[in-house]
């Protein structure tokens, strides 16, 4: 059995628009909150995996991004590994931290993600987002991520398994959850009519279904089980950590990268999708939740909309999905997103999620995908977390 790894502390800088805060400011707040939550100081951190996707293009800080923000919070001298995996960078940093602890290389590791997407010229942000693809192949085609999700959803509208009403209703749900999350970018409820009547972005997606440009940071302290004592608080341990990369689509079809990655995570953990009590999935556009419910095995293929309509994925449902509001409502500052998912699930497992707390979860799943290789995500990570102590 691999070394047990626990989530010792989590923290976030609220997601949103922060023109007067630098990358260092965002990372400072998230990083310090995670350290404080873990009950440690900066000198206890033995290694850092730092995730950022766009500072090279947007802030001109192409290299050593992690080192530059970490010195602000007194973390120097230790190994810092800069991770870039598009929208999956945050969970990639987490996965690497898990490996570092399991290997025995370090006993306390910080995974830190930060992103500042609001800049004076919005087209630069769109250019940076488009670079999460093989530009040698697709530059100039106008492939935006909204279009990527639009293509996936149109397939399902065409076969009738998902309706436009479903797309709107799932966005209503994610907004309702985000409205309960003080860290969320969009803390506002919407109606299905408002969603459907908002501006079309890439058919069938409308503005209120899509994640938007966002600033923010999130951090997680991971530790070898037993090295940081936290009396009186439930222990959250890493049950599985699985990673994958994209692949060339087989014209005949086949399972998605998310499915293959989730299967490995379930096998590693010795649990199945039916054991998951709460999940954060990569809904860069809210309706993606319908597709990922199927891909992750929460419901049979083709049944994502039916599963959603049953109420199963609501906060009080059998398997609440994206209690944080998901990417579309909590916000999606690319390099921080994966760690925000894991922070949310940690709060949920501990029972610290406030107004959006789901009922007594024991096992939580996070799925974070990034980039695009002509049909498949370029990177994917699936993590399973477990609350060790029974709920009282």
């Amino acid at each position: 059995m691999a070394e047990d790894v626990v989530v010792a502390g989590v923290g976030m800088h609220p997601f949103g628009r922060y023109p007067d805060r630098s990358l260092k400011d965002l990372a400072r707040v998230a990083g310090l909150r995670a350290l404080l939550d873990a009950g440690i100081g900066p000198r206890r951190v033995r290694m850092v995996y730092s995730s950022n996707a766009m500072a090279g293009m947007l802030q001109g800080q192409e290299m050593v991004r992690g080192q530059t923000v970490l010195r602000e919070i007194g973390i120097e001298g230790v190994p810092v590994v800069n991770v870039e995996n598009a929208c999956a960078g945050g969970s990639t940093a987490f996965a690497q931290a898990v490996m570092a602890i399991r290997s025995g290389a370090a006993d306390v590791v910080l995974a830190l993600g930060f992103e500042k997407m609001f800049v004076a010229d919005r087209s630069r942000t769109l250019d940076a987002l488009e670079s999460a693809a093989d530009l040698d192949v697709v530059a100039g085609l106008g492939i935006q991520f909204t279009a990527v999700y639009g293509l996936r959803l149109r397939l399902r509208l065409a076969d009738g398994s998902i309706t436009r009403r479903d797309l709107a209703e799932v966005s209503v749900k994610s907004h309702a959850n985000g409205a309960r999350n003080p860290y969320a970018q969009h803390q506002v409820t919407v109606t299905a009519e408002q969603v459907l009547e908002s501006r079309c972005i890439a058919d069938p997606l409308t503005l209120l279904m899509c994640s938007s440009i966002c600033d923010g940071a999130a951090a997680v302290v991971l530790a070898r089980s037993g090295v940081l004592s936290q009396p009186g608080r439930p222990t959250v341990r890493v049950l599985a950590s699985a990673s994958g990369s994209g692949f060339t689509l087989d014209p005949a079809g086949g399972p998605s990268g998310a499915t293959l990655c989730a299967e490995r995570a379930y096998e590693q953990a010795g649990v199945g999708p039916g054991d998951v009590n709460v999940a954060e999935v990569h809904d860069a556009m809210a309706p993606a939740e319908l597709l990922y419910s199927e891909a992750l095995g929460f419901c049979p293929p083709g049944d994502g909309a039916r599963f959603f309509r049953s109420g199963a994925t609501a906060l009080d449902g059998r398997l609440p999905i994206n209690p944080s509001g998901g990417l579309a409502s909590r916000g999606h500052p690319v390099g921080a997103t994966g760690l925000a998912q894991l922070a949310e699930l940690t709060w949920q497992l501990r029972g610290e999620a406030g107004e959006r707390q789901v009922r007594r979860p024991r096992i939580a799943l996070a799925q974070n995908s990034g980039g695009w290789l002509e049909g498949e995500s370029a990177a994917v990570n699936v993590h399973l977390l477990e609350r060790m102590e029974p709920w009282i």
Partner: protein, 145 residues
């Protein structure tokens, strides 16, 4: 063929992507397993072999899904239509669709179009569709490379 053969593969910039005479995409087809990719790659993604042969794919395919994009990008005025196309006897390719008036007709057969710098797809004329390309505007290709 030995994997070492891929060491001597033509640089990516020298591999043809279009056959203007045939009006088709040129990509790689693995002589061992038949796996196809566009543009051609040095090593086959399916079997890991290096006997990848350049060749033109079919000019016909199926538009599997499409989306009308409403946000302009440099050199691309919205709205424009993007589609996922399964090229007959070839790979899955994403590209612009011109002349598709009714996106509800998808899936539908399409024809591959190429010029010196770019490719796109047009829906095949069906019984209810006009035969000519009148009214189509060629997209600007400022960002093509």
């Amino acid at each position: 063929m030995d994997l070492a053969a891929a060491l001597d593969c033509a640089p990516t910039g020298e591999r043809p992507r279009f056959d203007l005479a045939a009006g088709a995409l040129v990509g790689g087809r693995c002589a061992d397993c038949g796996g196809t990719a566009w543009p051609a790659r040095a090593v086959c993604h399916r079997c890991g072999g290096a006997d990848v042969r350049l060749g033109a794919f079919s000019r016909t395919g199926t538009l599997v899904s499409c989306t009308r994009v409403m946000v302009s990008r440099p050199g691309l005025e919205a709205p424009y239509v993007l589609g996922q196309v399964r090229v007959d006897d070839g790979p899955v390719v994403f590209g612009q669709i011109l002349g598709l008036d009714d996106t509800e007709m998808v899936p539908c057969p399409v024809t591959v179009r190429v010029d010196a710098a770019r490719y796109w797809f047009t829906p095949d004329p069906g019984p209810d569709r006009p035969q000519d390309d009148a009214g189509l505007h060629a997209p600007t290709d400022e960002r093509q490379n």
